[in-house]
Amino acid sequence: MKRAGLDIGSRFIKYAVIDKDGAVSFYKKETGHNPMSVCEELFDSDRADRLTATGYGRHLMEISGNANTITEIKAVARGAREVFPCCRTVIDIGGQDTKVISLKQDGGVQSFEMNDRCAAGTGRFLEIMAKALGYDIREFGRDGYPSDNSNISINSMCTVFAESEVIGLINKGIKREAISYALHSSVTQKVTALTKRIDVKDDIVFAGGCALNGTLVDMFKDTLQKNIHVHETPDMLAALGAALY
């Protein structure tokens, strides 16, 4: 039987298909303004016998596609555990939500925390800031730690104000590497604050598209002082977990 998992996020829809021999294929498209038709396109490229939907838009599928649904929390925990069986904690930075999840010995979800309504510390936050600094999002975070970090920091909690702060710094002539570094540490701080509310155990899996950002990974390693694993397609873990469910 071919199983599939569909993760309908705020920015991207991810689709994971596991064929009967266990080989996994991943597909990904922008969510856009008509997520249902994007889902249809994804199904067309690879049909499965069984579908489980997750993510922000999971209920779309429940209504129209008679699929099971599970939350992205359970899905990402399952997916992370599949690729890293040692996983006891998941940090998942998605488009609009950040979650930290602690797993029981057997892999089940023990407890979780999510960011509040605002976008601080989410992928969306980084995206907006990358744009303000003129980075391509795939390049953002490649600069790593600047040699002179000029001791600047971003203090605003709110994305809109943080963006003005960034623009202010640019206008002061601060190097963009330094600003980028400050932004990354601001996100790290927010997420670390969330992790303090759960029981963080080794090993940690960093999931979601932001895990491709090397600076963030390094900063988490520094602040949490724990083993952090990143899969080659960290943004697909929730879809994978849904397919496995």
Binding site: T71, I73, D106, G108, S111, D116, R117
Partner: protein
């Protein structure tokens, strides 16, 4: 509503156009959330009727009571003793404030970062939407939280009918002494307002009425302990909300009828959700009508809410009043004592609450607890951490929710609640 009440509303000075808008929103919400539920007990009919007449028949009754020289007393908190109000032949009305209306006008008197409940009662008044506030002869505030304490000053400027009772924040001898005096002062105030003398007989009779009401609410709570849950949490919440403004004698009779039906349901194993559905208890800030948001999300996700550790819930009916007194002073003292058993988060320390919570979790056979705080409700937001630590120790699934009446966080709320239910279900299957 069965008849046209426009003239009555006009005479009360309501803003008719805005009021129509409010009623249609309410009717729709009620239809979607309440009437769409499956397998409701037949005796819910009465409560549906009360809601459909909440601004109609009930207001007419209040205005008739006024004509008969009875005083209408509005309250916001379970610290205001209903027994005393009944003892002077008054009518006690718990003022609701569970909808997001007029918050922009409210913000001309109070800060934006105020809890939704306070904003709502200001907003209702400023937009001319509440026939209860307009009918009331006296509105009793209390000093339980800072937000309310200061908001009542503004509320008095607008309504001119606010009376404030000082609730102490500790339970030492000096605090009990202060509270007893506050209750005495309130009794004097009511006597003066109504020109009715409080007698021992009247006190005993009104205590009996309120005790009966609390007993019926306790009965409902016990019935919810059954798995199959015989009634939804939404319906039980509604009944608790209605207990604050319906005629207490009629309410008690109707609630007992409902409980008779639930008794039968429990015996024959009829329920509102499949046996074994996750059973969730909600603790924290009060949920005034029509704040049904969290219950709707939880039950919409396949769980049953089996109890409310809240003022609109257990905290309101946990303790009865002793009628073992022979003087009016003795009666007032008994009332003061009974109200000091309330475990509101305004007290420090407030360890009774933790004990009560654990007790409730056990008796209701709950599998998880959701701590609910209205945003900016410092008291309950703060206490949630203590509650969390108690249940964490016991490995009991716990979720903290901070929200208000708006719908903008519905997506997040659903994800959190559903993930929480997944945790409960997994724990059950182990």
């Amino acid at each position: 509503m069965s008849k046209d009440y426009t003239t009555m509303w006009k005479e009360l000075g309501l803003n008719l156009q805005a009021h129509d808008g409010l009623l249609s929103v309410l009717t729709n919400a009620y239809k979607n959330i309440y009437l769409s539920q499956k397998n409701r007990p037949a005796a819910m009919d009465y409560f549906d009727f009360v809601i459909s007449e909440v601004h109609g028949l009930r207001i007419e009754e209040l205005l008739e009571a006024k004509k008969a020289n009875k005083k209408i007393i509005g309250t916001f908190c379970i610290f205001v003793p209903e027994e005393l109000i009944l003892a002077v032949n008054g009518v006690c009305i718990g003022l609701c404030s569970g909808a997001e209306v007029g918050s922009d006008s409210a913000e001309t008197h109070i800060p934006r970062n105020t809890c939704a409940l306070i904003k709502s009662f200001m907003g209702f008044k400023l937009s001319g939407l509440c026939p209860y506030v307009e009918s009331a002869d006296l509105i009793v505030g209390e000093t339980t939280c800072d937000g309310k304490k200061k908001a009542y000053e503004a509320f008095n400027e607008i309504t001119g009918k606010v009376y404030v009772m000082e609730v102490p924040h500790k339970k030492d001898d000096s605090d009990r002494f202060l509270w007893k005096e506050e209750v005495e002062k309130f009794a004097d105030k009511l006597t003066e307002l109504s020109s009715e003398k409080i007698t021992v007989e009247k006190l005993k009779e009104s205590i009996r009425i309120v005790n009966e009401k609390r007993l019926a609410l306790q009965r409902l709570s016990k019935l919810r302990a059954a798995d199959h849950a015989p009634i939804s949490g939404l319906d039980a919440l509604l009944i608790n909300q209605i207990s604050f403004f319906d005629n207490p004698v009629r309410f008690t009779a109707k609630l007992n009828e409902l409980c008779d039906e639930l008794d039968k349901r429990v015996k024959s194993g009829v329920g509102v959700a499949p046996k074994g559905s996750p059973r969730v208890m909600i603790a924290g800030s009060p949920m005034a009508i029509p704040n049904w948001k969290l219950h709707a999300v939880i039950e919409g996700s396949g769980a049953v809410v089996v109890g409310e550790e809240s003022c609109v819930g257990e905290r309101n009916y946990r303790t009865l009043l002793d009628t073992n007194f022979s003087t009016v002073e003795g009666g007032i003292e008994a009332i003061a004592e009974r109200y000091m058993t309330i475990d509101c988060a305004c007290f420090t320390p407030n360890t009774e609450r933790l004990d009560n919570l654990e007790e409730m979790m056990k008796t209701l056979n709950a599998n998880g607890i959701i701590h609910y705080a209205l945003l900016f409700c410092t008291l309950y937001m703060m206490e949630s951490y203590k509650v969390q630590s108690v249940f964490k120790e016991k490995d009991m699934p716990f979720l903290r929710i901070e929200t208000d009446y708006s719908l903008e966080d519905m997506g997040q709320l659903k994800t959190r609640v559903e993930a929480f239910l997944e945790v409960i279900r997994e724990g059950n299957s182990n």
